[in-house]
């Protein structure tokens, strides 16, 4: 069975953990706050470990050495960026997906080989498209004479 480690169990992390579990992954979730476990429902069958993703010992307890994929989705961009690089470099894990809300930082680290996902950029694109899809045209296009 493939092992996934999800660091940060907020709305995003918990949903990813549940999704991966449904798809047959063996999932371990890490969060600083033990109350976050409730986001995984009543009968979460995977492991749940309380602690900070920067803590090397905790990562080993969470099975980082056997992980096939790591998802980093805490609420701090810089925390995610650092944890993402550490697991990538120290443990040689190729599939490390990192949430970065700031589009510029997401782009900066994407160019350096990190799989960053920027929900802000996604929201901008999708919402702009949604406005366009309303099919309302300006009476006078901006810039027209």
């Amino acid at each position: 069975m493939l092992n996934a480690l999800v660091i940060g169990c907020g709305r995003v992390g918990s949903s990813i953990a549940l999704q991966l579990h449904q798809e047959g992954w063996d999932v371990t979730v890490v969060d600083e706050n033990e109350d976050a476990l409730s986001r995984l429902g009543e009968n979460w069958p995977g492991a749940f470990i309380v602690g900070h993703g920067m803590d090397a010992q905790l990562l080993r307890e969470a099975g980082i050495e056997e992980a096939d994929a790591v998802v980093v989705a805490t609420d701090g961009d810089n925390t995610n960026i650092v944890i993402g690089q550490v697991v990538q470099k120290r443990y040689g894990i190729e599939c490390v997906v990192v949430r970065v809300l700031d589009p510029l930082r997401a782009d900066f680290y994407a160019k350096r080989g990190m799989r960053t996902v920027c929900p802000t950029q996604t929201a901008v694109s999708v919402m702009t498209d949604a406005v366009r899809a309303c099919d309302i045209r300006p009476l006078e296009p901006t810039g027209a004479a």
Binding site: D77, N78, V82, V86, R90, D102, L104, R105, R112
Partner: protein, 220 residues
């Protein structure tokens, strides 16, 4: 010299004051409004408000010039790491010094290539170790990147090395005695030097060899 200081807490503020007094051009970036207000009163236009981990803020601070030195001294280790990486890798800043708040994070800075770091906690622990040596071995200098450290050891009357020539000692691979301090004078350690109780030895070794070295020199 042009310097960007990221983080206007006690450390950033004091460093900025010293640099300004020395005549350097400084921009101090602080994200908390209350702190910034105070810093602006003290330093005027040197102080700037913003999150120094945001590329746009760093650009307004002049990161693209680039500065001669960037000091990442916020109270958050992840922030300091990201600031250092953006400065070095994104803008080619040659000198970046990062503050490590939690010594457990030192390994992350090393791994990610931020080699110029300052950790007050480790510094204080080093001083404590020097005053209260644990197991007779004092760590004087760590060359982390190079994988070497310099330690000091004192020969006691019951030490296995007392009365022996250095050449006779079975020192662990990856270690070497540099000098012997005796009666306030330093002798270069050579194979024929005979060790006597009270000698203070300087040794260079690879981290992790401390126990082996200690056994040979001071405890059977």
């Amino acid at each position: 010299m042009y310097v960007i200081v990221a983080g206007g807490g006690k450390v950033g503020k004091s460093v900025t004051r010293s640099l300004v007094d020395m005549g350097h051009e400084v921009t101090l970036v602080e994200q908390r409004r209350d702190r910034y207000t105070q810093l602006e009163e003290d330093f005027g236009h040197v102080a700037m408000i913003g999150d120094a981990t945001e590329i746009g803020v760093l650009e307004r601070a002049g990161i693209a010039r680039p500065p001669d030195l960037v000091l990442a001294v916020t109270g958050d280790d992840e922030d300091n790491l990201v600031i250092s990486q953006i400065a070095r890798e994104g803008y080619g800043v040659e000198k970046v010094v990062a503050r490590v708040n939690d010594p457990r994070n030192q390994q992350h800075f090393d791994l990610l290539g931020i080699t110029q770091t300052i950790c007050a906690t480790s510094g204080i622990l080093g001083l404590v170790e020097h005053e209260v040596p644990e197991h007779g071995l004092i760590r004087l200098l760590e060359l982390r990147r190079e994988g070497l450290e310099v330690v000091e050891v004192q020969v006691e009357p019951d030490s296995p090395s007392a009365g022996k020539m250095i050449g006779e000692l079975d020192l662990p691979d990856g270690s070497r005695l540099i000098s012997v301090m005796r009666d306030g004078r330093a002798l270069v350690a050579v194979g024929s030097t005979v060790l006597t109780p009270g000698d203070q030895l300087l040794a260079i070794l690879q981290p992790g060899k401390e126990d082996e070295l200690r056994k040979v020199l001071i405890r059977a």
